[in-house]
Amino acid sequence: MTTNTLSKHVFSIEDFNLWYGNDQAIHQINMEIPRNEITAVIGPSGCGKSTLLKTLNRMIETIPSVHTSGSIKYNNQEIFAKKQLVEELRTHVGMVFQKPNPFPKSIYENVAYGPKIHGIKKKKVLDEIVEKSLRGAAIWDEVKDRLNQNAYGLSGGQQQRICIARCLAIEPDVILMDEPTSALDPISTLKIEELIKELKNDYTIVIVTHNMQQAARISDKTAFMLNGELVEFSDTDQLFSNPKDKRTEDYITGRFG
C-alpha cells in the first residue's frame, strides 16, 4: 500500500467529537495539520487540547470510557479504521509527554527500547540508532560516556531530551508533544525549544502548550481551543497579531485562562 500520494497534510480531522462517558470533551473539530511544520495547540486547561493530541496516536483509548465520532485521517488513512493496528500507527506518530518519563533503565536501553520491541536485535544496528537518536535530540555529547548509567540520574531537562531521543529512535513521521517543558526550568525549556525547532526539518510536530509565548516562539501554525471547540486555527504570526475571534483575542491578551 505504498501508492499513497503524499498529501500536504499529515492529519485531516473532520467533524471530530469525543466523549468521556457522557461528558463531551471535544466538539466538532475540523482541522488539517501541515507536514513538516510545527503546529501548536493552545488554550486554557481543560479545553481538550491534550485530549485532541492524544487522539492523534490513539493513546486516548487507554481510558476505557472514551468514545468518538467523526474522522481523523493520517496520510489519507482513517486512523480509526478496523484494519489500522494502533501499534503501527504509534510507530509513525510518536509522543513526548508532559513529565519526563524515562524507563528505569540505562540511557542506552531507553533509546534502544523502541527498535527492540519492533524486532531490531542486531547490536551494531542498535548502537548506530542510539547514537543517531541521541545526536538528534542534542544530548549525545552530554551522555556519550555514560550510556550504561540509569537515566534516572540525569536532570529533568536531560531526561526529557532522552525521551525525545527515545521517540526519534523509531523514526516516526510525526512527534506529538504534550506540554513537554511544563515540568522544566527555564534553561532546560530553552534547550528543548531549540531542539524542537531543529527537529522540524525532519518531522512534523504537534505541540500542546499552555505557554503562549512558547507557541509564539516556536510554532508555524497555532490552534486555539476553548471548551472542547477549535476557536481559531491559522498561521502563528497572524493568530497572535491579528486574531479573528474575540475569544482568541481575550485569551492571548490575558483576559482569562
Binding site: N57, M59, T62, P64, V86, E87, E88, L89, R90, T91, G94, M95, F97, K99, N101, P102, F103, P104, K105, Y113, G114, K116, I117, H118, Y152, C163, R166, C167, I170
Partner: protein
C-alpha cells in the same frame, strides 16, 4: 480563685498523661520482653546441642544421634516446588487483576475471593490438600502433594503483594511504552514487570518464609516425622523442619526439648536470612519512582 482550681486541674491532667504514657510504654515492652525471653530461652536450651552432626543426621530414637538433615532438605525441596508454582500463579493473577481485568462484578469477586482466602486458617488448606491432592489426584502422602497444598496457601499473600508492586509502577512509564507502539504485553514484560520485581520478590520471600515455618497443613497432608531419606522424586515421602520440631517437642522426656530447641534455632536462622534478603531488596530498590 478560679485560675487556681484550673492550674490544679491541669497538673492532674498532665500527671495522668505521664502515667498513661508510662503504662503504654510498659505494655509495649511486655511484647518486646516476651520476644527477648523466647529467643533467649531457645538459644540457651538449644545452642549446646547444635553441631555439624545435628545438621547432618537423620531423625533417630537416641538424642545423641538425632539430627535435622531430613527436615532441612525436605523444607528446601518443598519450597523449591512451592516457590515457582505460587509465584507464577500469584504474579499472573495480580497481572490479570491490575492490567487486564475490566472493572466489573467478576473482577471484584476474584479480588474479594483472594482477600478471603488469605484469612482461611492454614489447617483448612490442609484438609483441601488431603481430599484433593492426596486422595482425588492420588498423589498420596508425597512431596508434591505437600508442595501444592503450600502453594495454594501462600498464593493469596503473593497475589496481594504483587498487586501492590504492580500498582506502584507509574502509569507514565506504561504510556511511554505504549506510545512507542509497544503492545500491552510487551509493555508489561519489558517495563511493568522489571519495575515491580523488587516488590514482588520482597512479598514472595516473606510469604515463602511463612510457608517454611508452617506445620499444620503439612501434618494433614501427611508429612511424616520418621523419615530417613532425602526425597528423590516428586512422589517421595518427606518431612520438613517444623514437623521434626513438633515431633521432638511432643516427646515426654525432657532431654528432647533440647533437640527441639536446636531444631528451632536452625529454623529461625533460615527465616532470619530470608527476611534479611527481603528487607535488603526492599531498601535497595525503595523510592525509585
Amino acid at each position: 480563685m478560679s485560675t487556681k482550681v484550673n492550674s490544679a486541674q491541669i497538673k492532674g491532667r498532665v500527671v495522668r498523661n505521664k502515667a498513661f504514657k508510662s503504662l503504654f510504654i510498659a505494655a509495649t515492652s511486655i511484647a518486646l520482653i516476651f520476644l527477648a525471653l523466647l529467643i533467649y530461652r531457645i538459644l540457651s536450651q538449644g545452642i549446646d546441642y547444635l553441631s555439624i552432626d545435628f545438621l547432618r543426621n537423620y531423625p533417630a530414637p537416641y538424642i545423641e544421634e538425632a539430627g535435622i538433615f531430613a527436615g532441612l532438605m525436605g523444607s528446601i525441596f518443598l519450597i523449591s516446588i512451592t516457590a515457582p508454582v505460587s509465584i507464577i500463579l500469584g504474579v499472573s493473577t495480580a497481572l490479570y487483576l491490575e492490567e487486564y481485568a475490566k472493572q466489573n462484578r467478576f473482577t471484584r469477586f476474584i479480588q474479594v475471593n483472594v482477600q478471603n482466602l488469605a484469612g482461611v486458617p492454614s489447617i483448612v488448606f490442609g484438609l483441601l490438600g488431603l481430599t484433593f491432592f492426596v486422595y482425588i489426584l492420588e498423589l498420596g502422602y508425597s512431596l508434591i502433594a505437600g508442595a501444592l497444598t503450600m502453594s495454594l496457601l501462600v498464593l493469596p499473600v503473593i497475589v496481594v503483594a504483587s498487586q501492590e508492586a504492580i500498582r506502584s509502577v507509574p502509569k507514565e512509564l506504561r504510556e511511554a511504552s505504549i506510545g512507542m507502539g509497544a503492545t500491552k504485553w510487551q509493555t508489561i514484560w519489558r517495563i511493568v514487570l522489571p519495575a515491580s520485581i523488587p516488590g514482588i520478590l520482597t512479598g514472595s520471600i516473606l510469604a515463602l518464609s511463612r510457608a517454611i515455618g508452617e506445620t499444620a497443613p503439612l501434618i494433614i497432608v501427611g508429612a511424616a516425622a520418621a523419615i530417613y531419606t532425602i526425597p528423590d522424586s516428586f512422589f517421595s515421602k518427606y518431612t520438613v523442619m517444623p514437623i521434626q520440631i513438633w515431633s521432638w517437642t511432643s516427646r515426654p522426656q525432657e532431654e528432647w526439648q533440647y533437640v527441639a530447641a536446636a531444631g528451632i534455632i536452625v529454623l529461625l536462622i533460615i527465616l532470619l536470612c530470608m527476611n534479611a534478603i527481603a528487607v535488603w531488596i526492599r531498601n535497595k530498590f525503595q523510592n525509585r519512582f
